[in-house]
Amino acid sequence: MISKDLVIIGGGPAGLCAARMAAEAGQSAILIDRNAKLGGQLIKQTHMFFGSEKQYAKTRGIDIAKKLLDDVGSYPELIEVWEDATVVGLYPDKVITVLKQEKYLKIQAKAIIVATGASEKVLAFENNDLPGIYGAGAVQTLMNVYGVKPGNKIIMVGSGNIGLIVSYQLMQAGVEVVSLVEASPNIGGYKVHAAKLRRYGVEINTSCTIKKAIGKEAVEKVVTIKLDENWNEIPGTEKTYEVDAICIAVGLTPLTSLLSMIGCEMKYISELGGLVPVTNKYHETSIDNIYVCGDSSGIEEASSAIVEGYLTGLIASSKLGKKHPKFAELVDDFQSQLENLRNGPFGAKIRQGLKKLGGSVDA
């Protein structure tokens, strides 16, 4: 059994930033990620980020990851990084079990920051388990991390920013996007992204969904169908496309199974993407010294994951007795940054979700 006061699970922007602030405060930690490379979602994002300047907007995700990694890398004596290490259990006595390169290890922690990000939502339709059906995140990983084309003719489901951006990236990789379907009557993501797709000749079908996939060993065809204003299928509007891949971009849901396992109080909040832990405004869950930040506390953006990570790292360290020299000033700064990020029309959903969660969280 290894003993460590602070363990951070997940090395995406939230976990990396939590580690950096802990280190700045003089608190040592183990940072664990199941991937061979730290950076979370960022390492597959080759597009310029939206968001505010302070959190690296107009920088490519992959470059933000480099920057955050360098920050953490400058504290080698304090932050121990475990890559290719999956946390498989979180027990009530704060023991973490980890499968690290085929070895099963146990860590007794005093405080734990969970920053495990999100998983992709799936869609229910006939044959949705055929090979060739991917989540948008998986498509991005294949293309941008491993340089593998997911197919030659693809249909995209979902017109949020992820669906739009990934469609564009697919086309850049030489994949034909035969159609983009969206169940709601409106396009979900930014108009600029949608306009760009249209310019490249991709048809965008709103009020439309997938009825079924067809294929023996893998996807060969897909059938779409139109929806009426009550989201009911309109018979006779089926349309069949020949495709060898289907990409599903219908949103993310927080990856909170470890928090459920340890017994944190959870609430289902659709605005935040699903089941999320109840937290106080310092990102502490209903269990003492168990914290959560980033997408695993509610789906937002890299920008808010970064700030939440900083804030949580500060607070967790301070409670362990390592107070950052500029603690009060920084806490104020991060909280007001979060408030700014969630201001305006795009933050409305998040504000509402956080309100449902328990009122004062970061607001």
Partner: protein, 381 residues
Amino acid sequence: MKANYVIIGAGISGCSIAYNLAAKGVKDIVVVEKDYLTSGSTGRCGAGIRQQWGTKMNCLLAKASIEFFETAQVTLEYDGDIEFKQEGYLIVAVDEEEDEQFAKNVELQKCLGIPAKKITKREAREIVPHLNTDAIVSATFCSTDGHLNPFKMNDAYYKAAKRLGVKFFFNEAVKDIIVKNKKIEKVITTNLEIETNNVVNAAGGYAKEIGTMAGVDIPVYAEKHEILVTEPIEKIQGPMVMSFGKNLYCQQVPHGSFVMGRTDPDVDHNHDIESSWKFLDEMAKTLCEMLPLVGNLRVIRQWAGSYTMSPDRQPIIGDIEDLEGFYLACGFSGHGFMFAPMTGLLLSEIILNEKPTIDISDLHVSRFKHQKEFVLEKSVV
């Protein structure tokens, strides 16, 4: 609301009792359950069914229950599959003492018509080829023992009882039982007040608390038992493999996963059902010694449930002297699933003053008043 009988708990015991009473023509039966169907120990158990016991009573209860399970799907007119698999229990002896005890057990079992036999290491290996025979001395085997799906089985009882008119209320916890002049008047739940003179306590791990509400002391306590399931693979193991000495049971269920458990000798007496990392460690060590091949599989999930322990590790089934109309079906000490058909039949016979199919006066709670020391059933994990 009024009811003839209120049954507390919709586990396998409560549902079997409800079905048996209704099948005998009793009307106005209400089952109240604090959570959902099969949410207690029943939905958390290993669901093994065996007749290889060390006491006559357990042998008889198990044998008669197996006979019921064999035709349960038809008897209960269940449209699903209860997944009853009869490929035996292989119980291994790991030292001379067990070897001798098992020889006696098998003699008893044979006398009672149970097709168990004592076998050599080599024969055991023919039945379970991946068994490490270096870890054992001998074994016993009974081919009609087996396993079934606890969710499906309880669903079968539940649906049959419902068809016979039993009313079920879920998310209704019993909060109090009103007793006046040694007679039950009312059962109070989260949202209901049920006027009744008869209550059946089938509350599993909470049987003691239910007793306290009615003012009677039931000498049982709950203790946590942990269990896990692996990824599924093609079929390699027919029977349940069980060792009392090494503290292990392990079987492959029909969809290919292995389900296994063991007992923590230092466990506290309470309602805790949290999983622990300690169990995983110890389970893995024990298993890898006995069934090394299975040690290569990945664990998918672990969970825990309560055993409701009685002082002599035998069930408590029957009425109670101090309170008229109060009936007990509890204290199953880790093997109440396999006895459920008999629990339901026998208690309904007792309630209706019929002659019980099997004499179970030895399972009456009064045995603990007069006797303080007990011969414990040794054949348990």
